[in-house]
C-alpha cells in the first residue's frame, strides 16, 4: 500500500479544511495511506518567504523534509506552493552537498539532521502515476457529466526541467485525471496562465493579481466550463474569493473535492458549503 507523510501546508488546513478532509477520504478510497506529518510548519512559501530570505526558506524547508525522513516516508502535498517549495528545496539540498552541510549546521541547533532522502510528491501526480486512472474509474459511484476548466496553476508542472511530470506548455495530466470521473475538460485560451496570487502579488499588489484572475475567468467562461478544478489551495482561494469581488459565479473545486463528489461522498463532508463562491452540484 502506498504510504506518505501528509504535508498540510497553510491554506488548506486553515482556510479550506474541506480540501484537507476530501484528500484524506479520497486517499483512503484509493488505497493511499496518509500519516500526518506532525510538527511541520509552512513549507515555507516560495514566492514570499524565499523572496525575503533564501537562507530561512531552505533551512525551514529542510526541517520539514527531515521530519518526513525521520518517519521513513516521502511527502505528499495537495498544494502547488508547498509542492514547488519543498520539491525545489529538496532538489537543491540533494544536488549541493555544501549547501546540505551548511543547512545541517542550523538543523543541529534543534537536534535534527537531514540526510537528503525525502521525495516530494503532489497528490495529483501520485494518483496519475502510481495509482492509475483505472483505479480512479473503479472508485467512481457517481459519474459527473460536467464541463469543467482544468486549472493547473504554475508550480505543479514548472519548472519542468527538474519536475519532468508533463509537457509544461500542453499538458494532459490534470485533464485526464478530471476526465477519469466522467467530466469533460474544456479547451480554452491561456490555459496555463497564472491565477495571479503567487510571488507576493496577492498581498502587495492585489489589484494586479485580480486582473490575472479576471482574464482567467473570462477565458473559462468563454470555454463553457461550469466548474473550475484546481490542484492548489492558493489558486483555489484566489478564484473562490476573487469571484465574489469580480462578480462571477463559477464554483471552484480542488481535485480532491471533485473526486469526493464522484466517489459518492456527502457534499457536507467535502466542505463545499464553506466556499465563498457557492457550489451547486
Amino acid at each position: 500500500m502506498a504510504k506518505y507523510a501528509f504535508f498540510l501546508g497553510c491554506i488548506a488546513p486553515l482556510r479550506y479544511p474541506g480540501v484537507e478532509k476530501s484528500t484524506r477520504d479520497v486517499c483512503t478510497k484509493l488505497g493511499i495511506e496518509l500519516v500526518d506529518l506532525k510538527d511541520a510548519s509552512c513549507c515555507p512559501a516560495p514566492g514570499v518567504i524565499r523572496a525575503f530570505s533564501k537562507e530561512t526558506w531552505i533551512a525551514a524547508a529542510a526541517r520539514n523534509l527531515a521530519l518526513a525522513e525521520k518517519e521513513g516516508l516521502d511527502i505528499l502535498t495537495i498544494c502547488n506552493g508547498c509542492y514547488g517549495s519543498l520539491f525545489d528545496a529538496a532538489h537543491e539540498l540533494h544536488e549541493d552537498p555544501e549547501l546540505l552541510a551548511r543547512v545541517n549546521k542550523i538543523l543541529a541547533e534543534i537536534g535534527m539532521e537531514y540526510k537528503g532522502t525525502t521525495k516530494v510528491r503532489h497528490f495529483a501526480e501520485v494518483i496519475y502515476r502510481d495509482i492509475g486512472l483505472e483505479k480512479v474509474k473503479e472508485a467512481v459511484t457517481k459519474p459527473l457529466d460536467y464541463q469543467v476548466a482544468a486549472f493547473y496553476g504554475c508550480h505543479f508542472l514548472k519548472p519542468s526541467k527538474i519536475k519532468s511530470l508533463d509537457d509544461p506548455e500542453n499538458p494532459r495530466m490534470l485533464d485526464d485525471l478530471i476526465e477519469a470521473v466522467g467530466a469533460k475538460s474544456m479547451p480554452r485560451r491561456q490555459k496555463l496562465m497564472c491565477c495571479g496570487a503567487g510571488g507576493g502579488l496577492r498581498s502587495a499588489f492585489g489589484e494586479t493579481a485580480m486582473k490575472f484572475t479576471k482574464e482567467n475567468l473570462d477565458n473559462i467562461k468563454e470555454s463553457g466550463a461550469q466548474y473550475i478544478i484546481d490542484v492548489c489551495p492558493f489558486c483555489h482561494l484566489q478564484f473562490d474569493q476573487g469571484q465574489k469581488e469580480l462578480g462571477y459565479s463559477i464554483p471552484v473545486l480542488h481535485l480532491a473535492q471533485l473526486y469526493g463528489v464522484a466517489m459518492g461522498m456527502d457534499a457536507k463532508d467535502l466542505g463545499l458549503s464553506a466556499h465563498a463562491t457557492p457550489v451547486k452540484l
Binding site: L8, C10, P13, L14, R15, P17, G18, E20, K21, D36, K38, D39, A40, S41, C42, A45, P46, G47, V48, I49, A51, F52, S53, K54, E55, T56, A59, A60, R63, I106, L107, E109, I110, M112, C154, H155, K158, P159, S160, K161, P168, L192, M193, C194, G196, A197, G198, G199, G200, L201, S203, A204, F205, T208, K211, F212, E215, D269, G271, A274
Partner: protein, 164 residues
C-alpha cells in the same frame, strides 16, 4: 550615463541567482510574462539592469515585486537563464537593503508568530470540527516545542531582523 558594475552579477550568483550574463536580450521572457501584460514590469529590462549591475535602480523598483514566479519565462528562455532564481536573489538583496512592502512584512510576521503564513481562527476551528478534523491541525500550531524549534531556525538565519 550608466556606469556598469560587473561585481553585481557575482553578488547575484552568490545569492543563488545563477548566471544572468547568459541572457542575450531576445525578449522571449517579456513576451511570455502575464504580469508584463498588466504592469510596467519588463523581464528583459530587469535582466539587462542586473547584467549592468544597476543595483540601486533594481532594489528601489516596484517592478521587482510584480513577478508571480509563474516560470513561463524560464520554460521558454532559449539560453536557459534561471530567471526566477535571479529575481528571488534580487529580492533577497532588496530586502537586505531595507526594501520590503508592509503587506509582505505582515506575511513574514505571520510565519514568525504562527509558523504558518495565515492564522487560525474560530470560524476555521468550527469548520474543522464539523468535518471531523482536529480543531487545530497537527502542525507547529499544536506543539509548542516544534514551534520553538522553528523559531530557532528563523533566528539562526536572521529572519527576525527582516521583520524588525
Amino acid at each position: 550615463m550608466v556606469t556598469p558594475n560587473p561585481e553585481f552579477t557575482k553578488e547575484i550568483e552568490s545569492r543563488g541567482g545563477g548566471q544572468v550574463l547568459m541572457c542575450f536580450q531576445c525578449g522571449t521572457c517579456t513576451a511570455s510574462c502575464p504580469s508584463g501584460k498588466q504592469t510596467s514590469f519588463r523581464t528583459r529590462k530587469l535582466m539587462r539592469m542586473a547584467q549592468l549591475g544597476l543595483k540601486d535602480d533594481i532594489v528601489n523598483s516596484e517592478e521587482l515585486w510584480q513577478c508571480t514566479t509563474c516560470y513561463s519565462c524560464v520554460e521558454r528562455c532559449p539560453r536557459e537563464v534561471p530567471i526566477v532564481d535571479i529575481i528571488i536573489a534580487l529580492r533577497n538583496i532588496a530586502v537586505d537593503n531595507g526594501h520590503m512592502y508592509d503587506e509582505h512584512k505582515k506575511v513574514a510576521t505571520a510565519l514568525s508568530k504562527y509558523g504558518h503564513t495565515v492564522s487560525i481562527n474560530d470560524n476555521v476551528k468550527a469548520q474543522r470540527k464539523d468535518l471531523g478534523l482536529p480543531e487545530v491541525p497537527p502542525t507547529v500550531l499544536a506543539n509548542d516545542k516544534a514551534k520553538a524549534d522553528l523559531d530557532k531556525i528563523l533566528k539562526a538565519t536572521g529572519f527576525d531582523k527582516i521583520i524588525g
